[in-house]
Amino acid sequence: MTQTLAPATSVPVRKPRPSLSWRYRGEVAVRAFAAFAIGYAVAYASTAFLTLVLPLGRNDRVVTASLLCFFVWCGVAMYAFAARTPWRACWAPSLWAIALYGIAASFPELGARP
């Protein structure tokens, strides 16, 4: 795409501008994947989790949890590009998604309580 991007490698500092390396493109791709897909997974998991734990009626739990999910997704997306390494950008949010969804899935009756 462009030739002028400062390589946002693991520690983005101002470097002289070499042409884009495949390594750089790969890292951007991994972070973008983390932001988009893993981010959605965390948002999904957090919605399910909040639908479980919020001290509200069923209808209100669903609405509140769902309305908040966009900020969760944004948060993970920002983290994906701020994390020290692209690998960390992937595994840390993934753990969150698994943990939150795991808890939600373990108590289906609680999730469905009126």
Binding site: M1, T2, Q3, T4, L5, A6, A8, V11, P12, V13, R14, R17, A43, Y44, A45, T47, A48, L50, T51, L52, L56, G57, R58, N59, D60, R61, V62, V63, T64, A65, S66, L67, C69, F70, W73, C74, A77, M78, F81, A82, A104, P108, G111, A112
Partner: protein, 526 residues
């Protein structure tokens, strides 16, 4: 870490903005125009202009009209009564799948009026790019990117208060564009943040099913019945012989709802489970108005009055109402319109900063490189879409009323003009200096709207509408004239700048002399 984080967020701000910039521009222009979608629809129905609306409407006859055109097994009939903003009587048949069938009626004659894409075209373009489900998801993704661009923008703009009022148009070139971007971005921040968030929040049920699955096992109907205290009953699969006369129920409905009736609907109209419901409009409060009263379509018996909504759902309807601006009179619609224009400027100037920064590279790269494409796209989208919109309004006045598929022809003109404009923008000589051309063409197109109106529609042109005090109609022509003036000013400015020698134009000299310091994080090489 702080420095690194800032730079990462600055990078993300730039690229989140760039990736969806043009798409977002289209969505924003569509939404801004859609502030006045009903007014625009009315403007595009010259058959109704200058007529006095009729007070008593025969709703049963309207329903019969729908029954005549309905395809088998319709989902619901909807009739929207004439209102101040929409004098036509709108009726439609909705189906479980596929587009609806609509008949719009002139109440003074009882006849259908020539169809038009209307202001509704821009509204639909705005929320699903006229691509049903696919489009809704693409728009949602664009909205998420916008949210990220906003949140990262907040994080990186450390000098947010110090630079609050900074605008240096005289600096020329990149600095002026960046100032414009920052100005419209920062000063309009509450609006942009609200619009982006409420925009995605409106479709939350489509974007995030997790809560519904966890708590309701996916039963959408149950959710809405609980949330908005509405009423549903299963189909009986017995054919309904005739729908109870709706006109007999209106007075009772009005009394129970405590507000004027704005719409009527018949759900499952060919089944004995059919219900007739009435509701008011969204103009009385910020939150969407989903209060309804339900009657049995067999015998007119009252079935249910919707009561209190769940508080979470009330919040949701408030967020939706914040976005859609159907309340607060024309004052609020004008405020949103101007703020929307500011948003369009923010997006366009952001794209332009990036393109201008690489202008040198673009010049070196020549005709067929990626940079050239970017420049052409930038010009084609930002310059072409207003042009296509103006062309559609002009086409509305020129396409004969008796033409079949009139609305499709209007939309066809929109698309054709936009494509042609984009092709023009792709010409190498045009794409690097083409802003002046596009501003000028847009000025001409906007100026043509009231002129074509004057030439073709005696009841609709600006002199006639002002004379009888019809300011909603006159407003369209007057806004077109104002936009014409605005585009003309930009065109003149562009041509004047093009005549200046290069060093003065880019303003590098002045910037180097050090005008007020600016947070260069955003200007950093990305």
């Amino acid at each position: 870490m702080k420095n690194t984080f800032s730079q990462a967020m600055a990078w993300l701000h730039t690229w989140a903005g760039l990736v969806i910039g043009w798409l977002l521009f289209v969505i924003f222009v569509g939404g801004t125009i859609a502030c006045f979608d009903k007014e625009l629809t009315h403007w595009m129905q010259p058959a109704l202009h200058g007529k006095t609306p009729v007070a008593n409407i025969d709703l049963s006859r309207t329903i019969e009209g729908l029954q005549r055109i309905a395809k088998p097994h319709p989902h619901a009939y909807y009739v929207t009564l004439p209102s101040e903003r929409s004098p036509a009587l709108q009726s439609a048949v909705y189906y479980d799948a596929g587009p609806h069938d609509a008949i719009n009626i002139d109440t003074s004659t009882g006849q259908a009026i020539p169809e038009t894409a209307g202001g509704e075209f821009f509204f639909t373009l705005h929320y699903n790019l006229h691509s049903e489900t696919w489009g809704m998801y693409i728009v949602g993704i664009a909205g998420m990117f916008m949210l990220i661009a906003i949140l990262t923008g907040i994080v990186i703009h450390k000098r947010i208060f110090k630079d609050f009022f900074t605008f240096r148009p005289a600096s020329g070139g990149q600095r002026a564009w960046l100032d414009g971007h920052n100005l419209t971005g920062v000063l309009g921040l509450p609006f942009h943040l609200m619009i982006a968030y409420t925009g995605v929040a409106i479709f939350v049920a489509n974007y995030m099913p997790a809560g519904l699955l966890a708590a309701y096992d996916g039963d959408v109907e149950k959710f809405y019945v609980e949330a908005s205290d509405s009423y549903e009953r299963p189909e009986t699969h017995q054919p309904l012989k005739s729908i109870y006369p709706i006109d007999k129920l209106i007075a009772d409905a009005r009394e129970r709802l405590g507000q004027p009736i704005s719409w009527v609907s018949v759900h499952h109209p060919d089944d004995t489970s059919a219900t007739i419901s009435f509701g008011g409009d969204h103009s009385r409060a910020v939150a969407w108005n989903f209060d309804q009263v339900f009657y049995d379509a067999n015998d007119g018996k009252l079935l249910h009055e919707s009561g209190a909504f769940k508080s979470g759902y009330k919040t949701y309807t408030f967020l939706g109402g914040l976005h859609m601006a159907q309340w607060g009179g024309s004052a609020l619609r004008w405020l949103y319109f101007v703020l929307g224009l500011a948003g369009c400027v923010m997006i366009a100037s952001g794209m332009q900063v990036w393109v201008a920064k690489r202008a040198k590279k673009v010049a070196e790269a020549g005709a067929w490189s990626g940079y050239g494409l970017v420049q052409a796209l930038n010009l084609g989208v930002v310059g072409g879409m207003p042009l296509a919109s103006a062309a559609m309004l002009i086409a509305n006045r020129l396409i004969p009323a008796t033409m079949a598929e009139r609305a499709s022809w209007e939309i066809g003109v929109f698309c054709a003009v936009w494509i042609l404009a984009s092709l023009y923008a792709a010409i190498p000589a045009v794409r690097s200096r083409g802003w002046g051309h596009f501003f000028a063409i847009n000025a001409v197109a906007c100026g043509l709207i009231p002129l074509v109106n004057l030439a073709t529609s005696p009841q609709s042109h600006v002199f006639a509408t002002i004379a009888r005090g019809d300011w909603a109609l006159a407003g369209v022509d007057l806004t077109a004239l104002a936009l014409c003036a605005g585009f003309a000013w930009f065109a003149q400015h562009s041509f004047a700048k093009a005549r200046q020698p290069a060093s003065v134009r880019t303003g590098r000299g002045r910037a180097a002399r050090g005008d007020a310091v600016v947070d260069d994080t955003a200007l950093a090489d990305h």
